[in-house]
Amino acid sequence: MAAKVVTVTSGKGGVGKTTTTANLAVALACQGQKVVCIDGDIGLRNLDVVLGLENRIVYDLVDLVEGRCRLRQAMIKDKRIPELYLIPAAQTRDKSAVSPSDMVRLCDEIRPEVDWILIDSPAGIERGFRNSIAPADIVLVVTNPEVSAVRDADRIIGLVEAEEKGPARLIINRVNPVLTKRGDMLDPDDVLELLAVELIGIIPEDESVVVSTNRGQPVAFEGTSKAGVAFRNVARRLQGEQVPFLNLQENNNGFFGRFTRLLKPGRV
């Protein structure tokens, strides 16, 4: 096995990086993949909470990088799914405790043993972002259909290209079909037109995400919620499958209908 390293990033905070990472990890693991998540947000860790693994942390990323534990000891196994692991961030240190080359070395060590390494990047464009991006094979940029989030996504995509990690792929999170239809929210078409990158997922706004995040049980576990389905579709697309985008509106002539047509192969 030679894992692909996927970094989830956004620039702006609060757009759903951690939720996306957790749900993609769960979805991939549910689809039979062996997955390790790494929380890159040293000092402000969240991924352990969202995955419901907070109370099982003994060693963390900084312990691992500084040689106080072995790789296996820092990998927390999720007992709900066969092959899902988490390497949590240290909460009592800061970003400078780890360097980009540490991250590359760590990922190279894990690579032979798993299928996917998912890195949850912190917000911002500083050290934590650079640490997270350094080992990446694929970069997923999460944005919301809001002008400020799109601006930051644009900046991040530029930085990813400058690091020669591009082209980044885009996840538009928290799309509200009703607001979009009324014209009160940015249309995913507008977002894509500006960012001009490949779209890999549209995640609808979904109350169940909030509930599941608080319970430490990502929506991708159960099969009913729209967001859960959308995340599982992203996981399938990551594995190279062609999956049509969800129709979030009853009327097929709505923006998602147009959207799906625009996303046919051949579009840049």
């Binding site: 464009i125 601006r151 644009d154 900046r155 995509i157 530029g158 290209e161 500006l194 001009a196």
Partner: protein, 228 residues
Amino acid sequence: MFTEQKPIVSMKGVRDGLLVTLGEGEWPDIQEALLNEVKEKRDFLKGARLALDVGNRVICAADMGTLRDRLSDLEVNLWAVLSSSTATEQTAQTLGLATRITTPRPERTVRPMDTHLEGENAIFVQRTLRSGFKVETRGHVVVLGDVNPGAEVIAGGNVIVWGRLRGMVHAGAEGDESAVVCALDLNPTQLRIAGLVAVSPQKTRKPRPEVARVHEGQVIAEAWNIKD
């Protein structure tokens, strides 16, 4: 021992008349020699315009005036006195004589038609400038791609964007108000030309290629017409 002396007066035709160069010697002798020479060739020289190169001699106004009058008696017009001495030059100017003659130009060589243009310095950017990117130059800027909000283009000259211009752009940044900004979709966050600042109006119509320029102290945008 007899040595052949260099002629103290030599004449040659130039574009504007005759140029007489005087050799070494005392002024009265030289003057006599010149006048004799002119008398000898009187028929030939009648009505000629004469420029006199006196070298570094200092000639007083009286001497120069006398010479002019006596040449004039011989129907020769003294129109210029050339000298490397500023005193003599000033004297000549006082007497209303020229102190420069156009030196004969070498025959013009016919140059091939000049179809090779030097061009001006420009930066060519073949990529989309995303937020946080900045291009800054004293020359012109050509972008083949979009300029997104949060990106900056600053040029001493013109800015041409073959794409959507939505970021900040400053043309003629060193004060050149004749600078222009062209884009296929001109919708910048802010547009500056020289010291003027403009903000795009809210546009609803279909994007069209436009050019922004300074017209009567205001930045205006109009259809990008190549014929202009």
